[in-house]
């Protein structure tokens, strides 16, 4: 799980071009939108694309997306729940 979160943080930084942010600056449970990283609606679409490209997971329901993209922790939980046991 820790490895997945670290990898995810690096992927978020690269996908959103967060130039002055390092993986260790991102708190696992901090909100990604509004406060925290201060991401916006276009970033949420970019994160959906990230999930699809890197983890082959397509989020069909936008309401579900809101919950999944709350934090790095919620994204990692979602990815893990979709991986074969």
């Amino acid at each position: 799980m820790e490895d997945l979160k670290s990898k995810l943080k690096a992927q978020i930084i690269e996908a959103l071009n967060l130039q002055d942010t390092k993986p260790e600056d991102i708190d696992d449970n901090a909100p990604l939108f509004g406060e925290g990283l201060g991401l916006d609606s276009i970033d949420s679409l970019e994160l959906m694309v990230l999930l699809e490209r890197q983890y082959h997971i397509k989020v069909e329901d936008p309401r579900e997306g809101r919950k999944i993209l709350q934090s790095v922790q919620s994204m990692a939980d979602f990815i893990q729940s979709k991986q074969p046991a």
């Binding site: 959103l16 002055d20 201060g38 276009i42 679409l45 694309v49 699809e52 490209r53």
Partner: protein, 338 residues
């Protein structure tokens, strides 16, 4: 007004800035530090053309002293090529699935206009013209009509970028010279093709002069694929009282005869060309207009940019800018001293 170009036109003193030249047939823009102009959270998403366009627009507004900007009107031949190329490449790479929204959004021609409007909270008329070598000129014409209808001012500009891929494609269809050419020798080495360039240029236009006005536009004409007779007729219309002719001559032997026609129609009147500074692109005419306004306003010519310069009149009150894009779109603009 403001310009980001291959020369040091955006910051500092243009009269002491050295001439930037190339022997790779491509003049690339000197980009400033964008951080003082664009919030970091927006900057991270923008590609070169968006940063260049937005920053030039904001600097132009600052320079004008105008507080509330009215209509925003721009012209671009190609828009954000970097975003367009990325988007198209990803369509192929990911088989039309999982496409990033950002390059798609920013590949649209009017994305710079949208960014400007968001940044200055402008809700007035907003339009981008995409008409190849007439893109900036149509934006200018539209702006002049808006001012005639009572708009308090317009933010009018042009933007173009060159990418490695686009340079290659255009080289395959003869836009650039087949051998490396020193940009300083552009007008002496006549052969098919020119050298490529790019740039962002913005002006704040008003219906009547203000204390910050640099020049006045008193004549304007566009001619599409004119015959020699039509071109002569068009140029002759602006013959009266011209002190300086500024041409878009670009060293392309296939279309040099148009500029030679201007030479014969304005004998004895000093002439300068600007494509060795800006390179050739769809909206290079906007750089020519910036240069003409700069000369009229300061009554000086950056001597280091024009080593071919011999003698100039003591005062320059009226400049004719004549430019064409590969022999098709011809433009004449007369600018006068305020």
């Amino acid at each position: 007004m403001a310009a980001i170009s291959p020369q040091a036109t955006f910051e500092g003193d243009v009269f002491s800035a050295p001439l930037v030249h190339t022997d790779s047939n491509l003049l690339t823009c000197m980009e400033p530090d964008y951080k003082p102009f664009i919030p970091a959270n927006s900057l991270r998403r923008m590609t070169r053309l968006l940063k260049m366009g937005l920053t030039t627009a904001l600097q132009s507004i600052r320079d004008s002293g105008v507080e509330a900007i009215g209509p925003i009107v721009t012209g671009t031949g190609k828009g954000s090529l970097q975003d367009t190329e990325k988007f198209i490449r990803e369509i192929e790479q990911y088989k039309e699935t999982a496409l990033n929204p950002t390059p798609f959004i920013q590949s649209t021609y009017n994305s710079v206009n949208g960014l400007i409007a968001l940044q200055v909270k402008g809700t007035a008329y907003n339009n981008t013209f995409v008409h190849r070598g007439f893109s900036f000129e149509n934006a200018l014409l539209d702006s002049m009509m808006l001012l005639a209808e009572g708009a308090p001012n317009t933010l009018t500009g042009a933007l173009e970028e060159m990418t490695a891929e686009h340079f290659y494609i255009k080289s395959r269809i003869g836009f650039w010279k087949p051998t490396p050419t020193d940009s300083r020798q552009l007008y002496d080495q006549l052969s098919p093709g020119s050298i490529a360039g790019e740039g962002a240029t913005f002006f704040v236009l008003t219906g009547t002069p203000t204390p910050n006005s640099k020049a006045v536009i008193t004549g304007f004409r566009m001619l599409y694929k004119p015959t020699a007779a039509k071109l002569a007729e068009g140029l002759a219309e602006f013959k009266e009282g011209i002190d300086l002719v500024l041409t878009g001559r670009n060293g392309d032997s296939r279309y040099e005869h148009f500029y030679q026609q201007a030479d014969t129609l304005f004998p004895g009147i000093p002439q300068l060309s600007f494509k060795h500074l800006s390179g050739e692109h769809d909206t290079a005419g906007a750089f020519g207009m910036w240069l003409a306004a700069q000369v009229l306003h300061t009554q000086q010519i950056p001597a280091q940019w024009f080593p071919m310069l011999k003698a100039l009149p003591a005062t320059i009150n009226r400049v004719l800018l004549y430019n064409h894009f590969y022999g098709e779109q011809h433009t004449m603009i007369v600018l006068e001293r305020v």
